[in-house]
């Protein structure tokens, strides 16, 4: 466990020192600031715009960080050949992967937290005092964070057996497909046979369903987020991430690094 934590702490430090990361946070804060402006040129949707634009910024920027840095976690270490020095120490390959995963998850949590503070400040600027319904935003942000953690796990899995470019494509593809997992299940196609429909149905359950973490439409209209959705989403993200990371560890442990 100590090994995992050591790698995680180093990954976190490295990511925080990364200038690109700071720029992205600045961009997020800028977008949230822009939300205040957009709210002024429309009618009756100031809060809705601020919340949806803010959450979109948190989500999109988080996805960029999760995919691009997530893919680079393993490949960069291999390219710079620092991985060999690390693995020469008493460090298992799975511990290296787990540490990298935890480190980036921590980075994402810090980034998301900073952006959330910015979002609340923007919201407060047009509406004070905040009402109890405004705290549902935290549930939305938390669910976005869960989604990002799952994306990091997927990015790491793909980066374990393919090039960074393909890993980025695969992760982005799975993310988009995962948004339509529900649609795949309910899809009505005249030309498809029942067996093909069953296959689609099965795939729809196996794909990571990213819609599980989407409550933007709910909180944008200051509606409550069901608590069951939050804890079941947490469980879903935890189990799915674990499965993906176990798969990544299996691939990585068999990979010939020579």
């Amino acid at each position: 466990m100590r090994n995992v934590w050591a790698v995680a702490a180093n990954t976190f430090r490295e990511a925080v020192r990364d200038r690109v990361l700071y720029n992205l946070v600045f961009f997020a804060l800028l977008m949230i600031g822009a939300a205040v402006l957009v709210g002024q040129i429309s009618i009756g949707i100031e809060q809705s715009v601020i919340v949806s634009l803010g959450l979109t910024a948190i989500s999109v920027i988080g996805i960029f960080i999760a995919i691009f840095i997530g893919v680079g976690l393993v490949s960069k270490e291999m390219d710079k050949r620092t991985l060999y020095a690390l693995l020469a120490k008493p460090l298992e390959r799975w511990q290296f992967l787990a540490g990298k995963f935890v480190g980036l998850a921590m980075t994402l949590a810090v980034n998301t937290g900073a952006m959330t503070v910015g979002l609340y400040l923007a919201l407060w600027s047009v509406k004070h005092p905040l009402t109890s319904n405004d705290w549902y935003l935290l549930a939305a942000v938390y669910l976005i964070l869960l989604k990002l953690v799952l994306i990091v796990a997927l990015a790491m899995l793909f980066s374990c057996f393919t090039s960074p470019f393909l890993a980025i494509l695969f992760t982005a593809g799975i993310y988009v497909a995962g948004l339509f997992a529900g649609e795949l299940r309910t899809m009505q196609a005249v030309d498809l046979s029942p067996s093909a429909m069953a296959v689609f149905r099965g795939v729809s359950y196996l794909l990571p369903n990213f819609e599980n973490f989407n409550v933007m439409g709910v909180v944008a209209h200051a509606r409550p987020v069901p608590l069951a959705l939050v804890w079941q989403g947490t469980l879903y993200a935890a189990v799915y991430s674990l499965v993906v990371l176990v798969g990544a560890a299996m691939v990585f442990s068999r990979r010939n690094l020579k």
């Binding site: 040129i41 009618i43 949707i45 979109t56 989500s59």
Partner: protein, 295 residues
Amino acid sequence: MKRNPIRGLLLALVVVAGLGCVWQLQKRIDGIQKATATQADNLTIRSGRLLKYMSLEYSPLVAAMYWTRAVQYYGEKHRLHDSNLELLWPLLDVTTTIDPHLLPAYRFGAIFLGQKKPAGAGEPERAIELLQRGIRENPGEWRLYQDLGNLYYLDLRDYAKASTAFAEGSKNPQSYVWMKIMAAKIAAEGESPETSYFLWQQIYETSKDPAIKKNAEEHLILLTATLDMKAIDQAAEQFERQSGRRAARIGELVEAGFLRSVPKDPEGYPYVLGESGKAELNLKSPLLEKMLLAK
């Protein structure tokens, strides 16, 4: 390498002068484009469902953008006194398909659509379709029934349906008690200036759009004059009952103690009694033309 300060200054001057030239050139190009531009309304994607898919999980933001576009479109057309609002319905349709819970799009969109030209698109049937969609998607929002009732009452003058809409909305325990009163009053009386005044006042107080607010204010001014004249007529009837003759001028009603002073319309012009003995607007009052147009 030794730095040359004069060269640096010259380069800075070139940059500043260049930016100045660009600024001026852009202003000229804008002028040419403005003179040659043709007013073309355009909405590339009209399928709300397609846009919903394309917006991935960010549909609330896309819907907010489309709603903002609808508001800007309506505002711009209003500013240019252009009554052709052909894109308004597609914009509202797309907005509410992407986000069926965006209440302002139903509430204000129905006003934009329902009002007569040039204030609105003059499409009350579309406005009703929009509100009914809103009610289907948001059955707990009693304000949508209020808007539907307003539309039937103020724009379509269908008092039976207006009363039904207010009655349906009043079933929601969160609705205000006047919804029930409106339902009963409209069912019993049909159109009355008091009811119209109350409904326009509600629109004025709840609307944030300057154009809608101004329109409501104009209606309220006309209705104030109508209610004033109704009160003068009542005083004139009392005068006739007491004295056995019609009053020839409002001053007589004041002298007899039925009115405290000669009432003035919202524009400050005193009302007059017409040949029939009924109160009328002063011929000099600018409200006269507005009142005739409204009728």
